[in-house]
Amino acid sequence: MSTDQITGAGLDEATSAEPAGAVAFVDSKVGEISQTQLMIRRFKQSKLAVIALFILIFLYLIALFAPFLSPNDPVQVDQAYKYAAPSSLTWSGGPAMCTVTQEIDPVNITTTYVKDCSNPIPLQIFGQGFEYKFLGLIPTSRHLIVAPEGEAKLMLFGGDGNGRDIFSRTLYGSRVSLTIGVFAVAIATILGSIMGTWSGYAGGRTDTIIQRVIEIIQSVPTLPLWATMAAVLPQDITVTQRFILMSIILSLLAWTGLARQLRGKVMGYASSDYVSAAKSAGAKTPRIITTHLLPNSASHIVAVAMLAIPATIIAETTLSFLGIGMTEPGISWGVLLKDAQRIDVIQQFPWVMLPAVFVIVAITCFQLVGDGVRDAVDPYS
């Protein structure tokens, strides 16, 4: 602390005695920070965005280790656990769960859950469960926490209409829901960058045609058009094929906004002095685009792309909820929420809505991070 004050004082003296030299010294130090570092610094200033980024990283880790974290096989149907209530946890020399018996009133056909914590079932940490491949490589059957096999099932979020574990399904669902939006936006970004740069740089007739095409695509309401494209997908395709086709469908409409934004940026750069200088030095169009225009717009592209992700995640969830996006046997948050389509089901078994919490948290975080990135990249916009 004291040394700081001394150098600071010294600097002041130097400034008053020899202003030019001291200023140059300070300037050169500022110049040592690269553009990227500056952006990271500005990003860190927004506390909300940083917190949101950590939550997102946490969610992606959950998606990556979903099988390990899941106590139960997400596709295993079990009539005994149909709409089972979430397991209630307790402590008895270690984590344990109460036994819950489900009683169906035959007259009113309502289900009541009787909890009995006098005889808790101890839970096993790193216990044996269903078999899977850790990170897709190492075959194992160890899970973070499971109920002893055969005795009971640990259902943290309860069971769905087929007695499948909603918690495990939510973890598995994050794999599709968190990647499909990013994947779709990645395709859209490539398409949008090419079309936007081309349109903005070429100008004239090319620009007009591309802009008109974008206008035509944008003159069909987005969600209805997405729904139409999703509905014409054949029913008999595999989950992976459906995932890829859905991402392409989402990207087919998402690119127009990106292209528009980028065109504006590129038009600004294209009329700048350094591009004219490069042109008069004999640089060819591909070189100008790849060495002058794209690197300059790169940070802007990232910001716009980040802000496009929430809308695609909402679209996938909505379409899956309506039954025309991802479908069974695929698992995504929207597919899980399909169970919550009927009011009486939600009223009786409110835990079928729990995956919605994940949807809302993920979308909020993407929005906050997107806002943070935009502010860091483009502080004046």
Partner: protein
């Protein structure tokens, strides 16, 4: 001005033509056709359908024509005002659309008005009280409003209404009014069924418009003429509402066209959940039942509404902002 409107309308018609080609092409990609479903339905009802009958049906509906021929038949019919019969609804397509378009427009316009009525005062408060507790709370609510998918919000509102209010939700009318002739009571009953969907549809655009309003008003408040007004002693209330807000409204009018697309998406989802007979719900029904031509027709009608909405918002902009008139 007239030339500007005519030019916009002409371009709108061309756009609509391109949209019809595009949607028809997408819909024709679907495997299976309404004829197949119809044959299956006949078989399920117990009648035997011979190969000749199948061929006759396919001949009648032109199921084996190349898509451009089908497109010609379809668009020709549309231009003559004959959109054919719907397999899914078992009534003429024109009736299906005609009976639904009014409700769709009412929902959309209602949601827009509500969004504006809420977004402007809140945006003004937010911009004039930047970074205070109130502003931060509003910003947080905005983010949540943007993050909750409409279908979740609709489900939440419905459950809350049933659970705590004991309200009758879903559909357009209560049971006793369903087949009753129009009366004041029936109208009130309809409004009681419509306010919730309107509320849900408007949430996303309200959140977005509040943000736009806040950012714009903040920019305008920093301008020198606002400072001048304050310096000469104009009351702060008047400075904000008369000098600043008026100039901050233009981007909101510009955003009107952009919000229509979002409103239509919201209407589709919300009316499926609330079981309202709107265009969006009809589109969904026809998509599921592979009633392809009707789906394409509805999509084109929706695009037409969007295009007209955009022209209207351009005209509104020219009306509130003389600078925009030069563009035409």
């Amino acid at each position: 001005m007239l030339l500007f409107i005519l030019r916009r309308l002409g371009w709108g018609v061309f756009t609509l033509f391109c949209v019809s080609l595009l949607t028809f092409f997408i819909i024709e990609l679907a495997p299976g056709s309404a004829v197949d479903s119809e044959i299956e339905r006949l078989r399920a009802m117990g009648s035997t359908v011979s190969t000749e009958q199948v061929e006759a049906l396919e001949e009648q509906y032109g199921a084996n024509d190349p898509w451009i021929v089908k497109y010609g038949k379809w668009i020709g019919g549309l231009l003559r005002g004959d959109a054919g019969m719907s397999f899914a609804f078992r009534e003429p397509v024109a009736d299906v659309i005609g009976s639904r378009i009014a409700l769709s427009l009412a929902l959309g316009i209602g949601a827009t008005l509500l969004a504006w009525a809420v977004a402007i005062p809140i945006g003004v408060y937010s911009a004039t009280h930047r970074y205070t507790l109130g502003d931060n709370i509003i910003t947080l609510i905005q983010f949540i409003g943007l993050a909750i998918p409409e279908f979740l919000l609709a489900l939440g509102v419905m459950v809350a209404a049933v659970q705590f209010g004991g309200l009758d939700v879903g559909g357009l009318f209560s049971n006793e009014y369903r087949n009753a002739p129009w009366s004041m009571d029936k109208f009130v009953d309809m409004l009681a069924h419509l306010w919730m969907p309107v509320l849900v549809i408007s949430v996303t655009s309200t959140a977005w418009l509040t943000r736009v309003m806040r950012a714009n008003l903040f920019d305008v408040l920093g301008q020198q003429y606002v400072q001048t007004a304050r310096a000469k002693g104009v009351a702060e209330r008047k400075v904000i509402w008369k000098h600043a807000v008026r100039n901050a409204l233009h981007p909101l009018v510009m955003a009107l066209g952009a919000t229509i697309s979002g409103l239509m998406g919201g209407e589709l989802v919300v009316s499926i959940i609330f079981n309202l007979p709107t265009l969006g719900q009809a589109l969904f029904q026809t998509l599921i039942t592979k009633d392809t031509y009707v789906a394409a027709t509805i999509l084109v009608i929706m695009a037409a509404i969007l295009i007209i909405g955009n022209i209207v918002s351009d005209l509104l902009l020219a009306w509130v902002d003389p600078r925009a008139r030069v563009m035409g």
